[in-house]
Symmetry: C2
Subunit: 246 residues, 2 copies
DNA sequence: CGGCTCCTTGAGCCCAGTCAAAGTCCGTGG
DNA sequence: CCACGGACTTTGACTGGGCTCAAGGAGCCG
């Protein structure tokens, strides 16, 4: 099975055989597991490894002094938790597992060596970081301008598209390990209101949510409600100049 | 006068004479001006140059289909508007001038050449991008968890510290080119409520705002109200391993 | 002095928060 | 196999922070 990282990066470049095997071996080495709801990195620590999510979801989160907590990002299979963050003296937020997690933990010197003299890999990782920034900006827009129902809908759309890019959507459904409390801490609303909002979405026939399975019968309508425009995910294939095989 | 970019990057590294002059000449070449409230880059365009703010403020912003608008980031003197963003096929947001703007517009090939074989510059620019990401994350926290008064206070604290890093704070005061409407589009609240919130801050003696001048008589108290912790700005000096002069 | 743009104020309303209790699901151990 | 406990979801009643609409004031520039 292809690594989800490769699946994702291939949205942007086409790798050579050498590049593919470099990435694969990085993925395969230093594999680790973490139980759900445990932290991988804590605010204040210095990160020495680059963590790559292989299976399950992770998330960035930050707590205020008085206990309020905000989820800052979701890290899906193929996402890098902290590419380059090791440059900073200490983490300004924590990273945890939302579900049982399988991930690769690559010392950053190993990553640097892999990137060395492989400009296409370097390019792809930069692209990846830019997309992560774009997602963060879109969350800013959501939290600033969208209503509760629009925020939730927008988030579910984003997850749909991102998971689809790593082949984790089947029949308009994906597995979602989030509780309503997680959604609340993501959307900046209370758990009670998340509950009522989800009921609205269900009543409008836009989602079905059973157990950990989310089904989106009519993605177009959900997109429309959320004013979701996937442009910020930059999933369009780029030019052939980054194609190793031409 | 030292370029604000150099002032900022020196929070992280100490440059050699060669590196300093490389950065200076980049700053000095391709200088441009833009009138306040005009756009430098528009959503949908492809950016070919890296823009560096020299004087005045710029800002990132994005509009939803129905006209709601969110300010995503402020770009202060020394900030790069789009380092690396040229990698993406098209801008997913716009960049405009808040005040009359003086900026350097460097073709990205020129920047790449400057970075080539100068790992310290490359490092510093990476650090810069990481800090920009950290700021974006903190805005996510603000919009998600902080109340109106906390958001405004937090923003004013952030601007204080960032401007101080480029010597633009004198006697606890800085020039702020924002209207209350700008603040509203930043904090995700209505202009009317921004007005009432500023009155609260004034009544509590935390700020004085006359014309374009903001005075903060008691920064500590403002920080406390906002639960502001400057850690995410990563302004602490890093190790000597990045010092060209040892 | 007229006409911008921006700031300020007031009154009423509504989206989302709060508090509290009950219901559901599910894993675990006796 | 069932009873228990804990985590999560759902519901109801009430509250409140921030929004809306609307009008008036202040500053600034030609």
């Amino acid at each position: 099975m292809t690594s989800p990282l490769i699946l994702r990066l291939q949205q942007y470049v086409r790798f050579s055989q050498d590049e593919l095997s470099t990435l694969q071996s990085m993925t395969n080495s230093n594999m680790r597991r973490l139980r759900a709801r445990h932290d991988l990195l804590r605010e204040g620590e210095r990160s020495t490894h680059v963590h790559l999510v292989l299976e399950g979801w992770a998330y960035r989160h930050k707590m205020l002094e008085d206990g309020r907590r905000q989820i800052i990002a979701f890290l899906l299979p193929g996402d890098l938790c902290n590419s380059n963050l090791f440059m900073l003296r200490q983490m300004d937020h924590s990273v945890g597992a939302l579900s049982p997690l399988r991930y690769a933990s690559v010392p950053h010197v190993v990553l640097e060596r892999a990137v060395q003299d492989r400009p296409r890999i370097s390019h792809a990782l930069n692209w990846d970081m830019l997309v992560a920034s774009a997602i963060q900006r879109e969350w800013t827009v959501s939290l600033g301008q969208r209503s509760a129902i629009e925020r939730i809908a927008h988030l579910l759309c984003e997850l749909f598209v991102r998971l689809d890019a790593v082949s984790q959507v089947r029949d308009n459904s994906y597995e979602i390990p989030l509780t309503q409390n997680d959604l609340a801490e993501t959307a900046g609303i209370t758990p009670v209101h998340v509950n009522r909002t989800l009921q609205q979405l269900r009543a409008q026939g836009l989602i079905q949510w059973k157990g950990r399975e989310l089904h989106v019968p009519d993605f177009e309508s959900l997109k429309q409600l959320a004013m979701f425009d996937a442009g910020y995910l930059h999933l369009d294939h780029e030019g052939a100049f980054l194609d190793a095989n031409v």
